[in-house]
Symmetry: C2
């Protein structure tokens, strides 16, 4: 049972160290700020080759994974049994010990330490037990935000504008300078949809000054048109936008996400089925993208419940890591503008640095920005950005709920943003992503059956490929010390943290080869 | 402009103290545990009369409100202007300074200190800057939960079962021993609805072992029946269950909550229009309740999209503080059982102690518990409780999302539960509620035009009445040092914290009289 395996990185193969440390307290490595600053530039400079000069962002990280037992091991199994009595565990992947997890490495109770390139479904940005996040988490501001949680729409805290401006809004996508905060990605998308419906009806009504009619008011209370209008949100085949009722109506990823749940009769357009690498199939892909744009336009014009907005992910993530070219998204922006439909970009999974840009849609070079951009996951808080003031509903309390976000999580996002800037992590994912992509390309040449449709070139570390035995690969990955996730029916998706470096890429590539050889 | 007013409590009228304290750090009163324990019993013992022997839960609380400026004052106005540029402020009630707020008192930047009987829309349980919550918020466990937020369905933390069992599940409603955690009240209700739909379809299908048909799988991906079934959730007129798309379809509170948002064609039953006090209009109310039960049954049997569940609030809160008798809710439980429909009790606003019971539905003495109970607000975390294992979907990933709750907020709820138990706060709300109700009754006799339909007798501090000039009363309340909220069209609703005591009730009653006299 106890298959023992020790994978050392190429960088410093000799000095493997255990990360076992006192477990009663969170042991955090001391990382002097000056050293970190040095590292940021060093990382950028040294990032063209995996040589020994690459400085680790987490100096106390283990040099490689440790696999001591089957996963789950005996202690984890006991904890899983206990949890199963009161909580859903059938989707459990690994029972984690976050006290001993550090940087890119996730630990469990049995002493297993895995390189984590799944990162809580793409939601851990700057490493487990990041020392600067710990500082933010133990600040007096954080304590107050936790114990005095405000109803932000009614009783905001006096420094809420500052917290927004130095955090969430500091990284607002170009052209969008306002935010409505929320609690999760699904929530963020649904609030954006609501803003879209209110805007659309206001356009139809003739402006913000035109009052609701009696018919609208009374029918709204009956869940009927015109007050509850027969409008829709257009999304794409294989899209994932969340699992609440409105967001689930735009999600088209897998039946298991949707079965037995009532849904709105909203349209789905085909998402381009591109060939990879995108740049080697330019003409074919362009034709496919045009076909999808044409069908989108037809649906906008003809669907009986006209769309108030089109929502799209820059890279379809849960749906199988499907990419399209900037031209496709530029086409969508043009189409939506032409037909008076809003353009919502769902950056819940792609946002916050992983694609080599802070927001993935920056790759599109839009002259005319999206109307709304939603975020969650690596931001550790959620919401939607917008710029056009007409997207503020014309009366108060139309877009409202008790908490309207969470200052505690907004403070954490601010610390994340600071860490990203200090360490140059967006640049890091661009450089390390290219390095990793190159390694995967070479692996694909040697194991063409194992790595098919490699994709994500130029998209940072947001990489994926198809595997004919995907679930087996993911399972075996743990036995060689790596935690990896899948997406769609057959994709292996890499979602490392922003602090993933070349020496981690080397470990990952070696581990993959071990799996492919087995 | 600077209308100065100082309202001292009856308890210790001489010793008014300002609560101004160093603002750069959170100044927390030291409250020795032993003293607090003493207070708990003292509160229970002394609670039959408002005499000087009543010990305050927060000894450093001000003795009464301070109103130094119009609200908002100059400093608050400046902060509001700044916030307005980037965030919704048209619903802003008061720009708060939580660093200087304490216990039942909310402060602002202009030195105004108000007795807060609205408490962040009924969501602050045990006082601003509660010292024991501060301990939990500054614990190493909390820091780890904040910076290592897990995807609980995939990678739960090893002590998640412990955190649940010593917190959220420790106070689980009778008969319900499992929980699905979420992020907000709307979210909690929608997840409960999803569980209900999956359960209902499973019943129709013939059990957990029966697989989905091809037709279900393909139609679900098209948002069409049978995969996306034509089922519904039945709710009541004036109900409030949240503002996301599914929850909003069950919300029937106000047009402004619903206008321009597409909704499902789901049924609403009439909620009893009872006369108050309930016990003085027994026969009339019983007939009205029977009428509503009959109509509920008719809708269950006849609505074209059959209900999978009936959802109800123990006291309709946002919808105007509408009460019904235990017999009505017992009738609903019997009806839903009879027709194979689930019974969901929405305790988002009523839960966690304010009604003199931990859960308001305990007042009903049900032999057969609700199928699901949802919670949020004072729990500072959210989710739904259930007992029947058939409510666990038959496959993993059917009820799933990235975070599935938040261990940080679960740790906070654990500290809240401990504080409630240590101070006997459920007993406190029962006793203080009776005292306050008595005072309001006397006020109503003197000012019958100002306090109409006083309600909530025997329901702790969860009290309300109708006012012909409600909005004016709420506005004037600030000028006499009290922060109060409204509900529905004309109700003044009291939602004090659980640490609201008789001396606070005295201040509130005096303040109300000042308003009525003006």
């Amino acid at each position: 049972m106890a298959s023992f395996l020790r994978t050392a990185s190429r960088v410093r193969p000799a000095a493997f160290r255990s990360i076992t440390r006192p477990s009663s307290k969170i042991a955090i490595p001391a990382v002097p700020t000056a050293l970190h600053r040095h590292m940021a530039s060093a990382a950028a400079a040294a990032a063209t080759s995996s040589d020994a000069s690459e400085q680790p962002f987490f100096p106390d990280e283990p040099r490689g994974p440790t696999v001591k037992t089957a996963i789950p091991g005996p202690k984890s199994s006991e904890a899983i049994d206990k949890l199963s009595k009161v909580f859903e565990t059938r989707s459990l992947n690994m029972m984690a010990n976050y006290q001993t997890s550090i940087g890119n490495y996730i630990s469990d109770l049995d002493g297993n330490v895995l390189l984590d390139v799944y990162a809580q479904i793409a939601s851990i940005p700057v490493g487990y037990n990041n020392p600067n996040l710990l500082k933010a988490a133990t600040s007096p501001e954080m304590a107050s935000a936790l114990i005095n949680r405000p109803a932000l729409g009614n009783f905001p805290q006096h420094d809420w504008a500052d917290i927004l401006e130095t955090g969430i809004l500091k990284v607002a996508p170009k052209g969008l300078n306002q935010v409505f905060t929320s609690q999760s990605g699904s929530d963020a998308n649904e609030l954006a949809y609501k803003a879209a419906f209110m805007w659309k009806r206001q356009q139809e009504r003739g402006g913000a000054h035109v009052d609701f009619t009696h018919a609208e008011i009374s029918s709204a209370m009956q869940n009927a048109s015109p007050g509850a209008p027969d409008l829709s949100i257009l999304s794409f085949e294989s899209a994932f936008h969340g699992r609440l009722f409105g967001s689930l109506s735009t999600t088209r990823s897998k039946p298991i996400h949707k079965l037995d749940i009532p849904a709105f009769n909203w349209p789905q357009a085909p998402f381009p089925a591109c060939k990879y690498p995108l740049d080697e199939h330019g003409a074919e892909n362009a034709a496919e993208e045009q076909r999808c744009l044409d069908e989108t336009e037809r649906l906008i014009k003809e669907w009986p419940q006209p769309p108030a907005a089109v929502v799209v992910e820059p890279i379809q993530s849960e749906g199988g890591d499907n990419h399209a070219s900037p031209a496709f998204f530029q086409g969508l922006r043009a189409l939506t503008r032409k037909h008076g439909v809003l353009f919502i970009v769902d950056e819940v999974q792609t946002g916050v640095g992983a694609t080599g840009k802070f927001w993935a849609h920056e790759h599109w070079n839009l002259a005319d920005p999206p109307d709304m951009v939603t975020f969650s996951k690596k931001a550790q808080t959620a919401g939607y950005y917008f710029g056009n003031k007409e997207l503020r509903p014309n009366k108060p309390y139309r877009q409202f709920n008790t908490w309207m976000g969470d200052p505690a999580r907004a403070l954490l996002f601010r610390a994340i943003v600071q860490e990203i800037e200090r360490l140059g992590l967006v640049e890091n994912t661009a450089v390390v992503g290219d390095y990793l992509y190159g390694g995967l390309e070479r692996l694909a040449q040697r194991y063409p059956e194992e790595i098919r449709n490699l994709r994500g070139k130029g998209q940072g570390t947001f990489l994926a490929w198809d595997s004919p035995r995907r679930d087996e690969v993911l399972k075996k990955a743990k036995t060689v010390g790596v935690n990896i996730g899948g997406s769609g029916e057959s994709a292996v998706r890499l979602r490392p943290m922003l602090i993933f470096q070349k020496h981690h890429a080397d470990i990952l590539l070696e581990s993959l080869e071990k799996i492919f050889k087995s």
